[in-house]
Structures are given as structure tokens and as C-alpha cells.
């Protein structure tokens, strides 16, 4: 009876190991999508234009707004990843609980830490009719629609509620560049020249300097506009995965295999020991 029990335990252990290793094997097969389209050029079917505002001025970074063309059904977090890839600012860091820790590598360490009776965290905001609404929504599940404006602000000592300060760039439709046949709500045309919108991916970035972070950024003249032309980048999974799947990964697999060999030896030894004692 004891022997049967122990052999069952051994089998269960082996099964656990196999499941863990199989799931880890899946890590290598993460994949993503690649796309390249222009925010000021004509949209093809199944594409939307959205603006994402990131305000890290409280942390010593800058504020920026960028217009991106993304496929329909893109979520808020996918947009954030897309933005990081376009700007080349490094991937967005998440905690194991799924909490967003860092955008553009800010902050370098920590995740939603306590500070001054509140929390330092990246607040999520949604631009609605010219003002920011605190995003009580999970960015992983929020699906964007055409003309949406998404905002992220690094809040210091925030309470995690709608009282926390919103990004300083006003979410007006003027953040979208010209040439928007699908977007009737464009109020004014920013002075943007985007001539080479043919093959390369062109995105319009609006940067606000650290000194120009007044709390009332109603006037768009404090906003200096710049057009950056980026090479088409393979976004998300593939590029990141390939950069990580280097020599160190192989070394890690070897170490894991060695430890599991040890575990298998122990399980086998335990089984033999109980067999002998009975």
C-alpha cells in the first residue's frame, strides 16, 4: 500500500516536472505581429488611428504624444508596446501580478511603490471630449476605436483614484496630424510635414520639454511638434524574443535540466528505498 502510494507520488512528481517543462518550452514560441503604416497617410481597411500621451515629467522624463496606426481591436497595452517599439525606448515593464511598472525604463526599479502616503505609479487616462477621464479600466482588455486618445502619467504619491493628476497634454483632436479622411473631428491642422509617408513608417511625435510642463497646456504653442521618420520595425514578440534567446538562455536550460535530473534521481532513489523497506 505504501509502495503504491509512493509510486503514485513519484508519477505525480514526474508529471508536474513534465508540465512545467512543457509550459516553459512554450516561452520560446512567443510570436507577434509586424506592421507598418502611416498616421497621416490614408488608412487601409481594419486600421484605426489613435494618439498615446505619455507624461513622465514628474519623474524627470519628458511628455510626449504620438499618433499611431494600429489594427482594429488593439488593446491599450498593445498600443503601449507598439509605441515603445516605434520610439525604440525599450519594452514596457510589468510586474508578475500584471501591474504596469515602467514605461520607457522609468522608473528603473520598483513597481507601484509607497511614497508620501500614496503610491508612485503610472496612471491610466482616457481622453474624452477634450478632457482626461481616469481609466478605471484594465488596459489589457480595453479595445481602442478610431480617434481614441490614451494617456499615461507618472503620478507621485497618488491615491489610485480619479483625484490623481492627469497628463499635462490636453487630449484634443489637434493631436492627430492632418490628412485624416476617416476622422472628421480634426479641428486644426498642426504644422506637420510628412512627405515621406510612402514605404517607411512615419509617426508624428509631439514633445513637450520639461520646462514647458505648465498645468494648463491649453495653448498648443508650448507644444513643439516634430516629425520623426522611423524605419519599419518588427514590433513586439519576435524582435524581443530573438534578442533574449541568446547564449544565456541555453545556459539556463542546461542548468534547469541538471536540477531536474537531480530531482529525478531523488524521486527514483526514494522509490527504490520504499520498495526495499517493504
Amino acid at each position: 500500500m505504501l509502495r503504491a502510494q509512493v509510486s503514485r507520488v513519484c508519477r505525480a512528481m514526474a508529471l508536474c516536472c513534465v508540465v512545467v517543462m512543457a509550459l516553459m518550452g512554450l516561452i520560446a514560441t512567443t510570436s507577434g505581429r509586424a506592421e507598418a503604416s502611416s498616421c497621416s497617410g490614408p488608412l487601409s481597411g481594419g486600421e484605426i488611428r489613435v494618439v498615446i500621451v505619455v507624461d513622465a515629467a514628474d519623474f524627470g522624463g519628458g511628455s510626449s504624444a504620438i499618433c499611431l496606426v494600429v489594427p482594429t481591436g488593439t488593446t491599450g497595452s498593445q498600443l503601449l508596446a507598439r509605441r515603445s517599439a516605434e520610439l525604440g525606448t525599450g519594452s514596457v515593464r510589468y510586474g508578475s501580478s500584471g501591474l504596469l511598472c515602467a514605461i520607457d525604463g522609468l522608473p528603473a526599479t520598483g513597481c507601484g511603490d509607497h511614497n508620501a502616503g500614496g503610491f508612485d505609479y503610472w496612471g491610466y487616462f482616457i481622453g474624452r471630449s477634450g478632457s482626461w477621464v481616469y481609466g478605471n479600466i484594465n488596459p489589457f482588455t480595453r479595445r481602442l476605436s478610431d480617434g481614441d486618445i490614451e494617456g499615461w502619467r507618472y503620478v507621485r504619491g497618488g491615491s489610485g483614484s480619479a483625484q490623481d493628476p492627469a497628463p499635462r497634454i490636453t487630449p484634443s483632436q489637434s493631436l492627430f496630424p492632418a490628412l485624416a479622411p476617416n476622422l472628421p473631428a480634426v479641428v486644426e491642422q498642426p504644422a506637420v510635414t510628412s512627405g515621406n509617408a510612402s514605404s517607411s513608417s512615419s509617426s508624428t511625435a509631439i514633445d513637450v520639454g520639461r520646462e514647458a510642463t505648465s498645468e494648463s497646456p491649453e495653448s498648443p504653442d508650448v507644444v513643439s511638434m516634430a516629425t520623426t521618420t522611423l524605419e519599419p520595425v518588427a514590433v513586439e514578440g519576435i524582435a524581443l524574443a530573438s534578442s533574449r534567446a541568446s547564449d544565456s538562455t541555453i545556459g539556463r536550460w542546461i542548468a534547469i535540466a541538471a536540477v531536474f535530473l537531480l530531482i529525478a534521481t531523488m524521486a527514483g532513489g526514494a522509490w527504490i528505498q520504499t520498495r526495499r523497506s517493504r
Binding site: M13, S77, V259
Partner: protein, 366 residues
Amino acid sequence: MTAPRLLHPGAWWLWAVALAACALRTTNPVLLCLTIAVSGWVVVSRRTDVPWSRSFASFLRLGLIVIVVRLVFQILFGVRVSGTTLFSVPEVTLPSWAAGVSLGGPVTLESLMAALYQGLRLATVLACFGAATSLCSPYRMLRALPTVLYEAGVAVTVAFTFAPQAIVASRQVREARRLRGRSDRGIRAWSASALPVLEGALDRAVALAASMDSRGYGRRGGVSVSKRRRSVGLVLVGLVAIAIGSYGLLDPGAPAMFRIPALAVGVVALVGSLAASGRSVERTRYRPDPWVKPEWIVSLAGLIALASFVLAGRMSDALTPSTNPLEVPAVPIVAVIGLLVATLPAWFAPTPPTLATVSTSMAVAA
């Protein structure tokens, strides 16, 4: 090799709690699996031939259930995180005031791995507890407890004997079912026997506490009512503070106030209670378990493993591998060596006496 004898139960508990604390410090699945293997190996090598020594397998099974439940909860109610979507469950859009709660939605590999790591960690803690339960007799542990804990007599007795009694009760219930010609396997048999097992285990533990009480366990002697109340209050405060403090010590995420300060408050309260109750009650112990070299080796092996985990946590962040983005967990060599040190009790602890060795030693003594 020393003569067969039972190791001091405190040494086994210290060793097991240290291993559990190791598990609480990490979500690295490789280290967690190794911790389970180490505890299992030691249990197989040094367990006694009594009913509750079978409890390790039961605790492993319980751990498996914990992992499955954790994964199911993640799939149904878990926070949605980005990553590789494996499949989607039907999504329920909740009103805006409940936007923090998600029901259904896309299930990503990243979220499942995070849930698996956490479930595995809990399963490992359960395995360590199972190891302690199957390695030493709960009755001996009860005897070895410090006198201060006698105040909480019934609670302490039930706490230490419930799990082993449940193992014994479940065996008896299963045997009874088999004698009546019913199946003792499967979900139905399990659900039918769950209630009698729990009830039986609690009944036994309470009966044990009552019989110990009637034999003077936790007896106060001629102490005045006000003095007794004061000492009982102090014990309560002390126990709660020690519980919080030891939790704070074992959980690296706890605020600093809950660690050493809480422990210190607890110790002071317990010592104060000893002083308040006076030394009017004198207690003697019949054949106390010795604490000699093997006890030191076993408890030190556990503490070295814990120290190696603390060190590994300081050196790198390999103890908590990232699940978002997903990475292949690194294996911190320091922690692995520490865990291998924790297997030493499998050789250095004295072999427990079997029925045969007990009778020969009695014959020699006679």
C-alpha cells in the same frame, strides 16, 4: 551511525519551517520543485512506521489541488495581462463601478505561468508542512512546547494534532467504506468521506486536549483570578505578536514594522506572562527528548538553506523570475547548494526505531 531513536520534534519542525520559508521567498519553479524533492527524500529516508507518517503523499495531493484551483481562478477571474493569448473565455462586461474586476476574457500564457508559479509555491509550503507532520509525532511535539504555550492548552493541542489525526481518520473512513463494499476512490467517495474525516479529526484532537487537561496540562495551581487574567491577556498579546512577527520574517514583502519589533513585543509579553503567573506552579518533564548533535545538524541544515535563499535574493533577482515578459528561469547556484545541504538530515538524523529495534533494545535493557 547512532542507535535508533526519535529525533527531537522541534528539530524537524525547525527544518521544515526553514524550508517553507525558502519556498515563500521564491517563485522560481525549478527551486520549488527541488524543495519538494528534498523534503520528500528526507521523509522517505527518516519517517517512522506510524499512521501519520503517510501524510506526505496526502499533502502532495492537496498541493496539486491548490495548483489546479489557482489556475482555474486565474482563467476565470484573474487580472488580464498582456502577452501571448492562448485562448479566450467568454467575457462579461461589468458596469463601470466594478471595472476593477474582470470576468472572463483572453487568457495569456504569461498570466497562466504567473499563476502556476504562485500555486507551486503554495504547494511547496504544504509539502514542507506535510514533511514535518510525517517525520515527527505530534504528541512529542506537544510535550516539547515551552511552558508558556500551556496557557493556550486546547488550541495548541488541536493545532498540532489536527492534521495527523485527519490522516488517521481518513484511513479509517476509507477502510470502513471498503468493508461495506463501497468504492474508496473517485470524487464521490472523496466527497462522501470529507465530512466524517474532518469531524473525526476534530473530535480526536479535542478529546486529546480534554484528557490532557484532566491530567493537569496547563494547570494553574493556586493563582488568584486577577493574576490569572493578566497572564492570560499577556499570553494572548504575545502569541498574536509572535504570529505576526514570524509571518513578517518569513514573508519578504511584509513591512519592516511587522518583523523584529513584533517578535520582540511577543517575546516580552510571553516572558511577562511567565513572571505574572509566578513560579508557584512547578512542572516536571518525564524523560525529556534530548537536543544533541543530530538535532543541531538537522536544524542547522534547514537554517543554512534559508540563509542561502536570503543570499541568493541579495545577489540577483533569479528567485523571482519575470513572467511578463516571460523568461526562462535562471537557477541560482547558491540556493541549489543550500537546498542540497537541507538533504543532509537524510543521512545524519538517527534512524527512527522500528518495532523490531524497540523490542531488542528493551531486551538488552532487561
